[in-house]
Amino acid sequence: MSIPMPRSKAAIAVVFALASLAAAPLTASAKTLVYCSEGSPENFTPAINTTGTSFDAARPIYDKLTQFTRGSTTVEPGLAESWTVSPDAKVFTFKLRKGVKFHSGVNGFTPTRDFNADDVLFSFERQWKADHPYAKVSGGKYDYFADMGLSDDVQSIEKIDPLTVRLTLKKPNVTMLANLAMDFAAIHSAEYADMMAKAGKKEQFDQIPVGTGAFSFVAYQKDAVIRFKANKDYWGEKALVDDLVFAITPDPTARYSKLKAGECHFVIAPRPADLPEMQKDAALKVINQSGLNIAYWAFNTQKAPFDKKEVRQALSMAIDKSAIIKDVYLGAGQAAKNLIPPTLWSYNDAVKDYPFDQAKAKDMLAKAGVKTPLDIDLWYMPVQRPYNPNAKRIAEMMQADLAKVGVNAKLVTFEWGEYRKRLQQGEHMTGMLGWTGDNGDPDNFFFLRGCDAARPGGQNVAKWCNKAFDERLEKARTLADVKERTKLYQEMQQIEKDDAPDFKIAHSVVYEAMRKEVTGYKQSPFGSHQFNGVELK
C-alpha cells in the first residue's frame, strides 16, 4: 500500500516533518480520566432524552432521590436519605439529605442555598405539568416520565417541609422507587432555573447543566469533547480523579486504537471482533457482564397453529440456539431461558430450557395435528439492536432449522418503525424482537407478557394472555416485600417456560475495555457508565 507521491522517502519525510515527536503518553497528567464515548449528547437534561449516550453525558452531573448501587440493580438512598411507603404502596414519603450543595461557578451561577424540596418539585413538575414555565423548553418531550407511567399515575407531589417530599400515586406501584433512580428523575436546581428564566435564557438550562453530582460541568464542544471536574463538596462516593474528559469518538476501531495508544483510558462498546486481541494485551483490561436485555422470537398465540401450546413447544425444540450464540453473537451473547437476564433479582435458575431435539419436535408437531410442510412467516428486525447484532442472520439460521422439521418459514421485514408497529398490532405469525430493561425491576420485563400488553398495539407481541401469569404480575406490583415478589416472579418464569409464548434467544454479553491503570470501575447491569469512585493508578 502506498500513497501516490514521488520520491517516497523524501515525501514521507516532508509529510511527517510535523510529526517529529511521538504523541505524548497520558501519564503527563495522571489525574485526568479520559473516556472515549461514542457520540454527542442531545443536551444535558436526561428528562428530555432517550439515548444512553445522552444519559452517560449527564450522569456525572446529577443525583436522583434514589440511586442504583454502583454496579448493581439494587436501589439505595440518593438525595433522599430515607423513605417510607404506605401499606397500600401508593404514598411515598422521602426525607431529603441535608447540606447538599449544587455546583457553583457553572455559567455564572452561585447557589445561595442548599438542595431542598423545591428542587425536587421543580424537577418533577417540569415533566408533569403542561403549564410549568419550563415544560415547553427544549422541545419538552418527557418520554420516560410518560413511559414509566408517572404522567398518568401521579396524584400529587407535595412539599411537606423543606426536607420532606410526599409522592402520592393513583394506584399501587412499588417499582416507583426503582423508577426514581433512573436518569430521567435527575434533580435539577430550581434556583438556577429561575436565574436562567430571568435572564431570558431558558434553553441554556439544558445546555449548561448544574447539579449536585460527583462531577461538575466545565465545557462541551459538540462531536469533540465534554469536560467535567471533580466536585470536592460531593456528599456521596467521591470522584478520585481531578478531571473527567469524554473524548467523543464514534468509530469503534478508532476507539480501540486510541485505547492502545493511551489517548483514552476507557472505551465504550468494543467491537466483538477486537475482543480476543484486547484480552491478550497486557496494557488493557476487559470485563464483561450479561446485559439487562433479552432477544426473543415470539409466536403469535392468537393465530393458528400457534394457539396450540404443543406447536410452540415443538418449534422451541427445533432451533439450534447454541449455533446462533456462536455464529451471530460471536461470544458476546448468552443463551436465554428466562425473560429476565441472570443479573436481575428473582431470576429462576431452576427453569430448564427446551432441549435442541428436532426429532422430538417433528413428533410433537405430528401429534398436535400439524400437517407438514407448514408455511409460516418469520419476521426479523431490519436493524441491529443491543440484544441482537444481526436479526437477519438469526432468521436465516432459524429458517434452515425449521425446514428440517417440515416448517417453511418465509422471512419478512419492514422499516424499523413500521416493523414494530405491525408487530404490536399482531399482524405476524412469528416475529423477532427484544427488550432492554430500564429500572432493574423484574416487572419492567414481565409486563411484556402481561394481558394488558397483549391488546392490539400493545408490547406483548406474543399476544399471549395467561391468567396464572397475569394474576401474579398484578399482585407483585402491590407488594413491597422483595421476598414475596421474588417468589411470584420465579413462579411466573416457570409458567411462561411451560406455555412457551416465545423462543428466548439470548441476553447480550456487554464488554467494557479499559487500560490497566483504571481501578475501581464497576460495570453497570444497565450498560450505563459512571466514574465516581474510579481511580487511575
Binding site: S2, P6, A28, G39
Partner: protein, 336 residues
C-alpha cells in the same frame, strides 16, 4: 465583467431551486419517521405520536411542508434540529470551521504534492517515474477512504507512534475555549506552549486521507496539461533560447498549464466535502460531515436539509469563484 458576473449568478438560481427540492424529497423518501426513530422498542401511544407529529409539523401535507420550508429558507432560517432543539445554522456554524480546517489542510497536501509530481511526470514522460506515478494516482483515486484512514491509523499512529490516532488536540495537556473554531488558530491564540504544534500534529493523518483523491486528480491533471503546453511553440522557442530546463518548465510552461488545474481544484471542493463525511468519522473530527450522517440516522429533517443546503451553497459559491477567476485570467471566456 459585471454582466458576466450577473449571468453566472443568475445561473445559480435554478440550481438552488433544484437543490431545495432534492434535499427535501430525498430525506422523506427514506423510510422511518423522526418520532418513531426516537422511541425504539418502547413504542409510543398513538395520541402522543400524533401530538409530536403535530408539533413538528409532520402532520401537514407534504406540499405544505415544502412550502413552509421554502418560505423559511427565503427568510434565512434553516430551521431547528429535531434532535437537539438548536438552530441548524448555529450548529452548522460551530462545526463548520473544523471541516474547513481539515479541507484546507487536505487541499494543501494535494496541491503541494500533486502539482510538482504532475509536472515532473510530464517532464519525464514515459520514464519509470512517470509510469509509477500514474499507476499510483489511479490507486489513489480509487482508494476507499475508510480503509485508507484505518490503515494509516494502524501503522502511522498505532505502530510507529508518529501521530496521534484521532481528535484535534491533546485533551489532557491543552484546554482552551474555541474562539474561531479553527484549532490551529485557537491554539495559537491560547498562547499555550506546544498547542499549535499539537494541533498541526493532529491534522497530519486526516489531511493525508482527505487529500489523497484530490492529490491523484491534481497530479494527473497537471501532467496532461503540462504535456499539452510542452508541445507549444513558445516552449520550443524558450528551449531554443537556451534557457535551462527548470526555467522552461517551472516558469513558462507551468504558468499556462495551471489554468485547467485551478478549475480542477475548484471542482475538488465537492470531493473534499464528500470525503470529509468519512474522514471526520474515522478521525473523530467534529465537523459537519459527521453531523450530517447522524442527522440521517435520526431522521432529523431540518438539520439534514439545512446542512446539505449550506454545504451545497458553499460548493456552488467556490465553483462560481473559480469560474470568475478563470474569466479574469482568460478574457476569451468572459465574452464567450
Amino acid at each position: 465583467m459585471f454582466r458576466y458576473l450577473l449571468r453566472r449568478l443568475a445561473l445559480t438560481i435554478p440550481t438552488f431551486i433544484a437543490l431545495m427540492f432534492v434535499t427535501f424529497a430525498a430525506i422523506r423518501m427514506v423510510p422511518g419517521d423522526p418520532v418513531e426513530v426516537r422511541v425504539g422498542e418502547r413504542g409510543i401511544s398513538p395520541e402522543r405520536l400524533a401530538m409530536f407529529r403535530h408539533e413538528l409539523g409532520l402532520d401537514q401535507p407534504v406540499w405544505k411542508q415544502f412550502w413552509d420550508y421554502v418560505v423559511q429558507l427565503l427568510h434565512g432560517d434553516f430551521g431547528t434540529s429535531l434532535a437537539t432543539n438548536q438552530k441548524v445554522l448555529t450548529e452548522f456554524a460551530a462545526l463548520f470551521p473544523a471541516t474547513i480546517e481539515l479541507s484546507l489542510a487536505g487541499m494543501l497536501f494535494a496541491v503541494l504534492l500533486g502539482i510538482p509530481a504532475g509536472t515532473i511526470a510530464a517532464a519525464r514522460r514515459g520514464t519509470v517515474f512517470d509510469q509509477t506515478l500514474m499507476g499510483l494516482s489511479v490507486t489513489g483515486y480509487s482508494m476507499p477512504i475508510f480503509w485508507w484512514g484505518l490503515l494509516l491509523i494502524m501503522f502511522v499512529a498505532e505502530r510507529w507512534g508518529l501521530t496521534p490516532v484521532s481528535g484535534r488536540i491533546d485533551l489532557i495537556k491543552f484546554y482552551f475555549d474555541p474562539v474561531t473554531g479553527f484549532m490551529v488558530i485557537d491554539a495559537w491564540l491560547s498562547g499555550q506552549v506546544g498547542a499549535v504544534k499539537d494541533a498541526l500534529h493532529h491534522l497530519v493523518l486526516p489531511a493525508i486521507v482527505l487529500g489523497t483523491i484530490p492529490l491523484a486528480v491534481i497530479a494527473r491533471m497537471t501532467r496532461s496539461a503540462m504535456l499539452d503546453v510542452l508541445s507549444e511553440d513558445y516552449v520550443r522557442t524558450a528551449r531554443a533560447k537556451g534557457l535551462p530546463a527548470w526555467r522552461v518548465i517551472g516558469l513558462h510552461a507551468l504558468r499556462n498549464a495551471l489554468i485547467p488545474v485551478i478549475t480542477i481544484i475548484g471542482l475538488q471542493v465537492g470531493t473534499l466535502m464528500a470525503g470529509a463525511v468519512l474522514t471526520e468519522t474515522i478521525f473523530s473530527w467534529p465537523g459537519v460531515g459527521k453531523w450530517l450522517i447522524e442527522s440521517i440516522s435520526r431522521r432529523d429533517y431540518p438539520a439534514l436539509q439545512g446542512g446539505v443546503m449550506l454545504i451545497s451553497s458553499i460548493v456552488i459559491g467556490v465553483n462560481l469563484l473559480v469560474d470568475l477567476t478563470y474569466g479574469l485570467i482568460n478574457p476569451r471566456i468572459r465574452h464567450g
